[in-house]
């Protein structure tokens, strides 16, 4: 099983080949996610994903297979403003 290299939140990152955006976010947030990109426990996830500088809505996370060189940004609310 080989892996592919992506960029996650400005850092180099490897994921197993065939990973989806949902897989990546589930791992990164330590939350189980459904097909709809929502937490299976019903609570709000509070994160969003940009792929190569464009929003990928949570409904498409499960069907988006990561490609080598993809630049991903997982964002959430932070202290500010």
């Amino acid at each position: 099983m080989h892996s592919i290299d992506i960029q996650l939140n400005n850092q180099a990152h490897s994921v197993p080949a065939g990973s989806t955006a949902r897989d990546l976010i589930a791992t990164h947030t330590s939350r189980a996610l459904g097909e709809d990109g929502r937490a299976v426990d019903g609570s709000r996830l509070g994160v969003a994903l940009a792929v190569n500088g464009a929003v990928l809505p949570r409904g498409k996370w499960a069907s988006y297979a990561l490609c080598a060189g993809d630049r991903l940004d997982i964002v959430t609310a932070a202290q500010g403003g």
């Binding site: 947030t29 509070g46 994160v47 949570r58 964002v75 959430t76 609310a77």
Partner: protein
């Protein structure tokens, strides 16, 4: 002595919703999430701004969860964006992450002043309104730009009293009251508040609400300052509604001349 709350029915209307509090807090600059939470509670705020930043896997608690458990509505911002393009992307991510159409639109001209870039701001506002965002537009205190932003469909005008974090208060009260007088959407004073009297003044000038962050989060005692800001905003609102006395160049006695003893009026 029992007191009636004469502001009990005075509500802040925005985007078809009503809020009791006219103080919008920012969460930036605080030393810890615990400090933010104490300040939020002391402030009585019902709306609070957050930034949109990378998710840190080993985060020390979540601002988003903190707002949810305190029943405070998040108002995500586009802080740090220098172009309309970046601001629009940040707004889109904020909507997706926080499941709200609300966005505090900041498009900054430079890092020294943190003043908004009027051209990029206007462009971003146009795009975001077209995408059905409820736009809270952080702007300078220019009444002309404020009108253009209103015409393009923003939900609220948020003029700066002075630069973000400067604590200089309201440097041009006339501009703020002019914006208020000409505006058909709520005007929310944003940026520059340093202390309680600044917040009261904003409300006296007719603003519908006040947004502040550093004045509370960077105060020596954030929770106590937050309480001060809560009462200051209410005080200024009450004074605005109550109709202040005019300014006079000469004094006007508050004790009556009638009923003075003869001795005391120099007769005898």
């Amino acid at each position: 002595m029992s007191t009636i709350d004469h502001l009990a029915t005075d509500m802040f209307d925005i985007d078809g919703q009503q809020f009791s509090s006219r103080l919008i807090l920012g969460t930036g600059g605080a030393s810890s999430l615990a400090s933010v939470e104490q300040a939020l509670q002391a402030s009585g705020t019902e709306i609070t701004t957050v930034a949109i930043r990378h998710f840190a896997a080993a985060g020390s608690g979540s601002v988003y969860e903190l707002l949810r458990r305190n029943n405070v509505r998040p108002l995500p911002n586009t802080a740090g964006c220098f172009t309309a393009r970046d601001a629009v992307l940040t707004a889109q991510l904020a909507r997706e992450a926080l499941e709200t159409n609300w966005i505090k639109l900041e498009v900054i001209a430079d890092e020294h002043t943190l003043l908004p870039d009027p051209i990029e701001l206007f462009s971003a506002a146009e795009q975001l309104v077209a995408e059905d965002f409820t736009v809270f537009a952080y702007t300078n205190d220019d009444p002309a730009l404020a009108k253009r932003l209103e015409d393009v469909g923003v939900a609220a005008i948020m003029p700066a009293g002075s630069p973000i974090g400067s604590g200089l208060g309201i440097l041009n009260p006339h501009n703020i009251s002019t914006i208020v007088a000409r505006s058909n959407v709520p005007v929310i004073l944003d940026a520059g508040v340093g202390t309680a009297s600044d917040a009261a003044l904003a409300m006296e000038l007719g603003c519908s609400a006040v947004l502040l962050a550093s004045a509370v989060t960077r105060a020596h005692n954030p929770a106590l300052m937050a309480q001060g800001m809560r009462e200051a905003v209410r005080a200024g609102r009450a004074a605005h509604l109550a109709g202040r006395i005019p300014r006079r160049d000469v004094a006007l006695a508050s004790s009556p001349a009638e009923g003075m003893m003869q001795t005391l009026v120099g007769e005898l």
